[in-house]
């Protein structure tokens, strides 16, 4: 059998069987001991809790009793108040202890009820009303006996608990003795089971191990083949990842260039929009200038009209001047008449002077001088008349010439103003058209600007997506490389597993499998 199985395999079987049976047997024994120990601990805890409970109750009741004792002679209301609060707290503690009672508490509950009533009676009806003597009497005669009865009852309960504990300890000793026999018996049974069961178990175990080894060998081969496939797939995946990575990088660069161009476009559109806006402002300024020019032309036209009026007025005034000159001419004719009469008078005077002889000589000289003066006046009057006639003719010529030239100038000015007005209106219409077109261009530029911004955002998103794709591709490449490495390791492991299976089969069967 040793030759067939091999020493290691045989010993392994025996050890495994012993360990297994020991484990099962130990489990049973531990469970049994645990059960007994749990019972022991529980009983011990119960006893301990009951004892603690009893001690706690006794201490609290004694505290109340000593608190009341001090309260009987206390006169300071503040201290009385504090003492009463403490007594009330202790009373609550007693009630709590009773509520968590771990022993037969019926009698102590009843006693406590009576005790609590009497404590209340003592505090409220005696101490708080200042009836010290009555309080002392009540304390000694009524309350203290109940307190003593409670303590006595607690002492009895304590004795019972102690007695129960002693009984339990005795029982525990007996149980420990029984446990010893149980352990001996179970150990004997265990050894027998190990011997009989171990042998039968070994056979089935060996058979199972052989089956497992064969399965492991098949699995190892399968893993080897799979690892080769994984290696080739990983290689392919790695190459694809590298290509994909390169494509993504070039695409990413292209997108970045588009992004740069979009940024430039965005800036150009922004500048154009600004220029269009500035042009619109200039157009408005031009239109304003045209309006001002139109106003100026209208003002010139008005001035022209006023000039015509002024010329007409001047003509009238020239007419008046002519009238005055004519009137002066008339008056000059009167002077001529007077000159004629004066000459005639001078002649008559010289005649008369001559008649007077010697006496009229002086008078004749005067008459002669008057005659000379009349001749001079007549000459001057004729010269004046001549000058006046010349003036009238000259004025009339000037007026006529002026009328003719001013009419031509005014007419020409009117025509020029009309042409200027027409040109300005045309200019105004052209500016309106330019303004309208500029507004349309501005609107279009705004739309282009919005579109460019949206396009820029979209490109940013595409750029981010490309970066993510790039990262993903990098990771894919990394994973592919890791996968390739892992497939190599898997291959090594499968070969190693194959060797282990061979060794296992040699160990189980004592020879190498075919």
């Amino acid at each position: 059998m040793l030759q067939k199985l091999g020493l290691q395999k045989y010993l392994l079987t025996i050890v495994f069987g012993v360990v297994f049976l020991s484990f099962i047997s130990s489990l049973f024994t531990i469970a049994y001991i645990q059960r007994n120990i749990s019972g022991l601990i529980k009983s011990s805890e119960d006893s301990s809790s009951a004892s603690n409970n009893i001690i706690s109750l006794a201490i609290d009741i004694s505290s109340i009793q000593s608190g009341i004792s001090a309260l009987l002679t206390e006169k300071d209301p503040d201290k009385i108040e504090i003492s009463i609060v403490k007594i009330q707290e202790k009373t609550k503690a007693v009630l709590l202890d009773i509520s968590h009672c771990h022993f037969d508490c019926i009698s102590i509950t009843e006693i406590n009820k009576v005790y609590e009533e009497k404590v209340s009676e003592l505090i409220n009806k005696k101490i708080l009303l200042g009836k010290t003597s009555e309080a002392i009497e009540y304390f000694i005669g009524d309350l203290s006996p109940v307190y003593l009865r409670a303590l006595a009852d607690l002492a009895i309960k304590g004795d019972i608990v102690q007695k129960n504990t002693a009984i339990f300890l005795l029982e525990s000793g007996k149980q420990a003795e029984r446990l010893k026999y149980v352990i001996i018996f179970s150990s004997t049974v265990m050894i027998l089971l190990i011997i009989t069961g171990g042998l039968s178990f070994r056979r089935s175990l060996v058979r199972t191990l052989i089956l497992i080894s064969e399965q492991l060998k098949i699995s190892s081969e399968t893993i080897k083949e799979t690892s080769h496939k994984v290696a080739s797939t990983s290689d392919f995946l790695s190459e694809s990842s590298v290509e994909q990575n390169a494509s993504i990088q070039s695409t990413s660069q292209a997108v970045q260039e588009i992004s740069s161009m979009t940024d430039i476009n965005k800036n150009n559109v922004g500048t154009s929009t600004k220029n269009a806006h500035d042009s619109q402002e200039k157009i408005i300024e031009g239109k304003l200038a045209i309006s001002k020019m139109l106003t100026s032309i209208n003002n010139i036209s008005e001035s022209n009209d006023q000039m015509v009026l002024q010329i007409t007025k001047n003509e009238n005034e020239f007419g008046e001047v002519i009238s005055l000159i004519t009137e002066i001419d008339t008056k000059t004719k009167i002077i001529n008449d007077i000159v004629f009469q004066t000459k005639l008078l001078s002649f008559n005077a010289s005649v008369e002077a001559a008649r007077a002889g010697e006496h009229g000589k002086g008078f004749a000289v005067v008459a002669e001088e008057i005659g000379n003066l009349a001749v001079m006046s007549g000459t001057a009057a004729q010269e004046i008349s001549s000058l006046l006639n010349n003036s009238i003719n000259r004025v009339n010529t000037i007026v006529k010439n002026s009328q003719s030239s001013m009419g031509t100038i005014v007419e020409t000015g009117k025509l020029t103003i009309l042409d200027g007005t027409k040109s300005v209106n045309t200019c105004h219409q052209i500016f309106d058209k330019i303004s309208e077109d500029s507004g349309i261009i501005h609107g279009l530029l705004m739309e282009i600007n919005s579109g460019t911004i949206e396009q820029s955002k979209g490109i940013d998103e595409v750029n981010k997506a490309m970066l993510q794709l790039n990262e993903t591709a990098n990771k894919g490449e990394q994973i592919a490389q890791e996968s390739f490495q892992m497939s190599g390791k898997l291959n090594e492991q499968s070969e190693s597993l194959g060797k282990i299976v061979d060794e296992l089969l040699i160990m189980i069967e004592g020879k190498k499998s075919v």
């Binding site: 009987l72 002679t73 006169k75 300071d76 209301p77 009385i80 108040e81 009463i84 409220n124 101490i127 708080l128 009303l129 200042g130 009836k131 010290t132 003597s133 009555e134 309080a135 002392i136 009497e137 000694i140 005669g141 009524d142 006996p145």
Partner: protein, 179 residues
């Protein structure tokens, strides 16, 4: 048990009341205490407090009766007022180990201040108040004091405003400590 205790206590009280006299030593000590309480009674704080109550009776106590007073717990604010007011604080500074009780009555026998709750609201009609109001000092007998539960003796002196008695001051002393 209860009946037996009552009998014993009654016996002790009765025997204390009728059978006990002060020794000479106790009598001398009591006389010394008497001089001290006369000084306390003549202290301006006490005199002014009694005058104040006589002039303006305490409003919260105008319906107070003996029965109502007996039913008041020692922690009731109406009782505590007399233990906490300025006169009571002054009295606390004057008590010694022999002292079992101090209380001051106004002219009508109602309370002005005390160390611990008195058995009665008004001591009018009782010798411990009436005699001091007549200008005389008063000394009681050895008794078991209901308010202290101790065997004690009480003395009382008038509270004088000049020569006129305006209230009374009662003090109780423990017999066992009176030396």
């Amino acid at each position: 048990m209860k009946i037996m205790l009552k009998v014993i206590l009654s016996f002790l009280m009765i025997s204390g009341a009728f059978a006990e006299d002060l020794t000479k030593e106790q009598s001398d000590a009591l006389n010394k205490e008497m001089e001290i309480i006369k000084k306390i009674a003549s202290d301006p704080k006490i005199v002014e407090a009694v005058k104040a109550v006589n002039t303006t009776p305490l409003a919260d106590y105008k319906d107070m009766t003996q029965d109502k007073w007996k039913d008041l717990p020692v922690l009731d604010p109406k009782v505590r007022y007399f233990i906490k007011n300025a006169s009571a604080e002054f009295l606390k500074t004057k008590k010694n180990e022999q002292t079992t009780e101090f209380f001051i009555n106004a002219a009508d026998g109602t309370k002005v201040a005390f160390l611990s709750k008195t058995s009665n609201w008004s001591h009018k009609g009782k010798a411990k108040h009436d005699e001091p109001m007549a200008g005389k000092a008063w000394q009681g007998k050895i008794e078991m004091d209901e308010s202290t539960g101790l065997k004690s003796i009480q003395v009382a002196v008038p509270v004088l405003d000049g020569a006129k008695a305006i209230g009374s001051f009662t003090a109780g002393f423990s017999i066992t400590k009176l030396k």
